[in-house]
Structure formats: C-alpha cells, structure tokens
C-alpha cells in the first residue's frame, strides 16, 4: 500500500471501530498504532509510545482541564453553581431560551482564553449542563448549545490557533485578530438566532419564559456574590495577564473550596464526590487526547493531509471548487483532530495553493487573512459535525443520560447557521477584512 492508502485505511478503520461501540479514544488509538506500524515499523512505533503518552499528559496548558473540572465539581457539590444559575435564570428566564444564550456567550468568553475547544466545553458543561437540565432544558438542546459554544474560542481573539496560523503564514498577529472579530460576532449572532428560532419552533426544548419578580432576582443575587467574586478574580486575572489559565484555575479551586467550606456546604462525602467527578471526566478527556495523538502521528507520517493538499494544488479547476474541496476536507479532518493539529499539518501545504489562485482579485495579504478566517471557521464546524466531531463526543461523555443521536439532532440548527456564515464569509471577504483596513 502507498502511504496515502494507509492513511485512508487508518481513517476508515477508525470509523468502523467507532461504529461498533469501541470507545472513541481506542477507536483512534488502534488504527493509529496499526498505521504507524505499517508506515514505520515495530521499532519506531514502540519507541514513539515510550514518550508520547507522557508528553501528552504532562502539558502545562492542559493542566487547566483537571483543575477546572475539580473547581466545577466543588461548585456543583457546594451548591454554588445552583445559586449562580438561579440568579441567571431569575435575570434571563423572562426570555425563552435565555439561559441557553447565556451558555453560548459563557463558552465564547472562556474559549478565547483557554485555547482549547475541548477544555472549554468540558469546563462550562461541568457546571452548566446539570443546571440547564434542572431548569427544564432538554438534553438535546443543552448538549448542543455547550458543544457548539465551545468551538467559538477557536476564532475569538486572543486565540492561540489564530496565532499559530499567523506564524505559519507569516501574517501580522494584530491584523489576524482584527480579521476575526466580525466573523466571531457573526458566529455568536447566528447561534443566538438559532436558539431563538429553535425554542419558538420546538417550545418543549426549553422551559417556558417566566419573568421573575424583582424580589426573587434580589434574593438570588444576594446568594450569588461569592461565585461572582470568584469569577471576577479568576477570569479578570487571566484576561488581565496577571496569571495564566492554570494559575487562575488553581486559585479558583482554592477559593471555591474555601467558600463552600465556610458556608457549611462542603463535607467529606461532597469533597469525595467532587474528586470522583473530576477524575471521571478528566480521565475521559485525556484518554481521547491520547488516542487522537496516536492517530494524528500516523496521519502525519502517512502525509495524507499534505498529499491531499498537494492533490488540490495540481488539479486544474476553478478556485471556487478548490475552496469548496478544502472546506469539506477540513470538516473531515475535524473527526479526529483538534484545531491545532489540523492547522499545523495542512496550512504549510494548502496556503501556497490558495496564494497562487485568484479570489475576487484580493491582494496577497488580504487573501492570507481571509483564508485564515475561513480555515478556522471550518475547523470550528469540523469539531461538531456529525457523525463524528471531537467536541460532540466530549459533551456527550459529560451528559451520560443523553444519547449521541439527540446531541446530533441538537447541533443541526447550529450547523445551519454555520453554513450560512461560512457562505457569507466566502462571498464577502470584506466581512473579514473591513476592520483590518479600517484600523491599520
């Protein structure tokens, strides 16, 4: 077999294994290991595995996952997240779907600093998912909202994925960030609109709108100040550059634990339950990372992403079709890769192709920024695109009572707005470039 055929077979085997109920992490790991074996041999595979797993689980940036999982579990066990949601619901419950909308925005805010789609969804969902269910959202809508919201951080500055794209393509980071604001805003508008329409067409998906009396708002507000204070310290500190996301998570942990303890809401059994929850979800997420790492290594070795990019480059076809092909290609890659791996493996080959083609007579610098926005938008979509999307899995893993099919049904409306947004971004490069031209 050629390396490209091996790469494709790895992909196919993964889909088969996923189809027959093999855990997702293992469905990625096994074909990855077999592919690696065929491409490189036993010895390199065994040598690769010596360091790969440790390398994957000892990443400073990823330490936020268990830390935020534990913080969230403390907040849930100590009743803080219930207090927060009672307050938010008192404020937003007058709008049908209001809490779902708040969930999207919370994900966006968290995602832009956490640097990881998966970490964002897992963290927010830990706290928000049980509460959304409690106040009457269906599993379908709640999981879809949180899985979709988590992807927004890919595009929203300061995004490490955008930075890496800028570095690989030698673009200015500031301009890259500027180009991303309007598309990110469009994403938010699209998602909020999707929620608004969905709860109108299917009123059973969300609790009925109920205006809370002012007294209830104030009463729930009085209980909620500690958690607002924690949020302020943790996220203010991270956004302000006072400390890293990991440090923020550590501080948040200690504060959350201390406050629940002082209020008498934390005891031994709740503490144990919090640790168990954190263990279960972190273990699930890191297992997927380990599996994805193996299959990514095999795909990189097979040069499948590079060769497919090359194939596109040498087809004598119109730019529009090339662009469409690239978009589909990324959505497929999103099955197995996180956004960073996709960018690292494909941009070096695809970028020159795009730069060599004419799109609306764009200047090279504009074309590069525009293409970056398109690529990252599709990466976002790939993370939630059925039947396989990394973020959908993670979300579904956190919501054990919801069948995967329900989550898939839930993300369809969001994907519809994504499709509209992507078409707009392709047809009107000004949406990405206007702010850049205006401010630089």
């Amino acid at each position: 077999m050629t390396s490209m055929q091996i790469g494709l077979s790895v992909f196919a085997l993964m889909l088969v294994l996923m189809g027959i109920r093999v855990p997702i992490a293992i469905s990625m790991f096994v074909p990855g290991a077999i592919g690696y074996l065929m491409l490189s041999g036993w010895h390199p595979l065994l040598a690769h595995l010596k360091g790969a797993v440790y390398g994957r689980v000892s990443v400073y940036d990823l330490s936020v996952i268990p830390l935020f999982m534990l913080m969230g579990a403390f907040a849930v066990q100590g009743g803080l997240s219930k207090a927060l949601f009672d307050f938010a619901n008192a404020l937003l419950g007058r709008f049908k779907g209001g809490m779902a909308m708040a969930g999207i925005l919370a994900c966006a805010a968290f995602g832009s600093i956490s640097g990881s789609t998966v970490a964002t969804t897992a963290t927010i969902a830990q706290v928000a998912y049980p509460e959304m269910r409690r106040i009457g959202y269906t599993g379908r809508l709640a999981t879809a909202v949180l899985a979709t919201g988590g992807t927004m951080g890919v595009l929203l500055p300061p995004s490490v994925t955008l930075m890496v794209y800028a570095i690989l393509t030698e673009q200015n980071i500031t301009k890259m960030f500027l180009a991303a604001y309007i598309p990110a805003l469009l994403a938010a508008i699209g998602y909020l609109a999707a929620i608004a329409i969905m709860v109108r067409l299917h009123p059973d998906q969300a609790p009925p709108a109920k205006a809370a009396p002012l007294s209830e708002v104030l009463a729930s507000g009085a209980r909620v100040w500690p958690i607002l204070a924690i949020f302020f310290v943790v996220f203010g500190g991270i956004y302000g550059g006072l400390f890293t996301a990991t440090e923020g998570a550590a501080i948040g942990n200690i504060l959350t634990f201390a406050i629940t303890l002082l209020r008498g809401d934390m005891d031994r059994s709740r503490f144990v339950n919090a640790v168990r929850t954190a263990a279960q979800t972190s273990g699930m997420i890191f297992m997927i990372f380990i599996g994805a790492d193996m299959i990514n290594a095999a795909l990189a070795l097979s040069q499948l992403p590079m060769q497919l990019s090359d194939l596109v480059a040498h087809m004598q076809i119109s730019p529009v079709i090339v662009m469409a092909g690239i978009m589909i290609f990324y959505i497929l890659l999103g099955c197995v890769m996180d956004e960073m791996s996709m960018i690292l493996l494909t941009v070096p080959t695809l970028f020159p192709v795009i730069m060599g083609m004419d799109f609306f007579g764009l200047m090279p610098a504009d074309k590069a920024l525009w293409f970056g926005i398109l690529i990252l938008t599709v990466c976002e979509i790939g993370m939630i695109f059925p039947p396989v999307g990394l973020n959908v899995y993670i979300m579904n893993g956190l919501a054990k009572d919801v069948p995967m099919a329900e989550t898939y049904k839930g993300v369809v409306p969001f994907l519809a707005t994504d499709a509209i947004r992507l078409s707009l971004l392709i047809m009107f490069p000004a949406l990405s470039l206007w702010l850049v031209h205006r401010l630089t």
Binding site: K50, G51, P158, I167, T244, A245, N296, L301
Partner: protein, 321 residues
C-alpha cells in the same frame, strides 16, 4: 533504485530561518551530492508528535532519522555542553560552533554515543525581548518573568534577579501574548518563528564588543542504525556533510539569520546594555561558572579542564578567522 528518504523532525515552523537557512540547504546539499539518491522529508513544528525535549530520544530510538534540537532542553542529559551555555562565552557564533564541535569530540562522545552527531553549533547574541519596559540595568529585571532556554541560562536569569520560566521556543509566543511572561531571552534569529516583533515593544541587546550574556547549543543528529544501513557511497555523503565545517557553517547561518530577524523588529524600541553595566553581570557569570565547575566535580568530571578547554578552543577559532 528508490531514493533513501531521511525523516527530519524539528520544533520550529517551516518558515523559520532554522529550516530555510540551515536545514533545507543542508538537505539540498546531500541530495545534490548523492544525485538525489538520498533526500530529506522535513517535518516541522513537531508534526510527528512529542515535545521538543523528546526529539533527542526520537532520533536515538529511530522514531525519525534526523533531528535538529537543543541538547539543553533536556537538563542532565548532556552536562558537558553546559560549558558553552555559561554566560559570556560566545562572541562569534561561527568560531564558537567550530570550537564546540572540537570540544564535543573530546568531552561529549559518551553523552552522544547513541546517535550520530552531524553538526554542533551555537546561536548568535542573546537579546532581551521585553513587553513592557527595556532592560538597561540589572535592576530592571527585578521580579520580571523571563523565558530562558537551558539550565545554565535559567540559573543566570535567576541570579540577575528575574524569575526564569523554562519553556521551549514554540510556546514563547502564546506565553508573551497572554502575559505569562514579561519577556524572553532569544536571539533575533527566532523572531519570525514566534512573531516576537508583534508581541513585544523593546529589544535590549548587550554591548556588541562584549561576549553574549548567553548562548545555547544545538545539535543536528542522525539515528545510528539508519546511518549504518546506508551504502558506503551515501555514508560518505553524510560524512562529507558532518563535522567541524558544517558546524561552523551552521553558526554562520545563524549569524546571518540574526541580521534578518533584527530587520523585522525595526519599528520597536532598541537599546544597548553598556559594557560598564555588564561588569557586574560578568561577576555573577563567573560565580555561575565556578558553581558549575563544582557541580561537575560532584559528578566526577573535571569541570575546570572542560571550561578552560572550551575557552581556549573558542579563542583559537576566533583568532583563526
């Protein structure tokens, strides 16, 4: 007959000077000299997985055939090279790289016995790249978080009063943009690889007449079994492109890359730390060197002899220029 393909793995992006000015030219050269019977397949940005410190293990174990990396990312593994990473050793990267190659033949062969070193080299002048204020004196560093590459540089940064944060180059951009660090010590060569010019405002160099306040050592290494498996004529091509001359050329390429990288930073503010200010730095540097000699003694190595040899070799190659 099919061409031998050597998988070369490294941690910088494909657009980095390290790839365009050093690794790609080296690969082109072995391809040309072998009539295209041997060529590289370069995997940049750690595309094949793992972390930068794991590169050396990857080439040792044959995960890949060639790596280019910093031995200093793996503390404790290559103590002999630390002699070159002590403060104020390097003045000219080409001469120092040649000296480094010669030095390794004498002191580092046990440490590198599991791989085939192709070249050893150093980078040019270290520069402080700072987000909020320039470094004019040691006092300016007080309390700041600074990224540094190797064990020796981390220790020196701490002696200067800053808080060292150890991380490989690829993480520097993210760390600077999020305020995790207030600055980084790297040569100008790295600038485009992390877009430092857009993330900091100040670049503080040391007096060019003085030796650099730090440098890092690099190695281009090949898997031993892969080398042994080559037919004699291809072995010869590798041999012809290994050793002191390619090492010196690598140092020279990095000096040229520094000049290119500096051009990208011109719209930022530059300053030079004066020779008089550096006097107190050197005293600290000497203390660090003395500590290192002691530490080597504890490991049963003659640190003093290693340090003296390093200095003598650097002087010899600098004079020969």
């Amino acid at each position: 007959q099919e061409a031998v393909v050597l998988k070369l793995h490294h941690f910088l992006p494909a657009s980095s000077y390290a790839q365009t000015m050093l690794l790609q030219p080296w690969c082109d050269k072995i391809a040309a000299e072998s009539n295209n019977r041997m060529k590289c397949q370069i995997f940049s940005s750690m595309q094949l997985g793992g972390t930068p410190p794991q590169l050396i293990e990857q080439v040792r174990d044959g995960v890949v055939d060639l790596v280019w990396t910093l031995p200093g990312y793996t503390a404790g593994r290559f103590p002999s090279l630390e002699a070159f990473e002590l403060p104020f050793m390097m003045q000219n990267p080409e001469a120092t790289s040649k000296a480094l190659w010669e030095y390794t033949q004498q002191f580092s062969m046990t440490e590198f016995k599991d791989v085939k070193p192709i070249a050893f080299h150093v980078h040019g002048d270290g520069v402080f790249h700072m987000t909020s204020k320039p470094v004019k004196t040691m006092a300016d560093l007080r309390g700041l978080k600074l990224r540094a590459p190797t064990r020796m540089t981390n220790k020196f940064i701490a002696m200067l009063g800053a808080t060292p944060v150890s991380m490989p180059v690829p993480q520097v951009g993210d760390a600077l943009s999020k305020g995790v660090i207030d600055g980084a010590v790297v040569p100008y060569e790295v600038v485009p690889s992390v877009k430092i010019q857009e993330l900091v405002k100040f670049h503080s160099e040391t007096d060019p007449a003085e030796a650099s306040f730090y440098t890092s050592t690099f190695v281009l290494a090949m898997n031993k079994a892969k080398y042994d498996s080559l037919p004699a004529d291809l072995k010869k091509v590798i041999d012809n492109n290994s050793g002191i001359t390619p090492s010196g050329n690598a140092g020279k390429a990095f000096l040229a890359a520094d000049a290119e990288g500096k051009k990208l930073t011109l719209k930022n503010t530059h300053n030079t730390i004066s020779a008089s200010e550096l006097a107190s730095w050197k005293a600290l540097g000497n203390k660090l060197a003395a500590d290192w000699v002691e530490e080597m003694k504890g490991k049963g190595a003659d640190g003093q002899k290693m340090l003296d040899t390093a200095k003598a070799l650097i002087a010899k190659h600098a004079a020969a220029k």
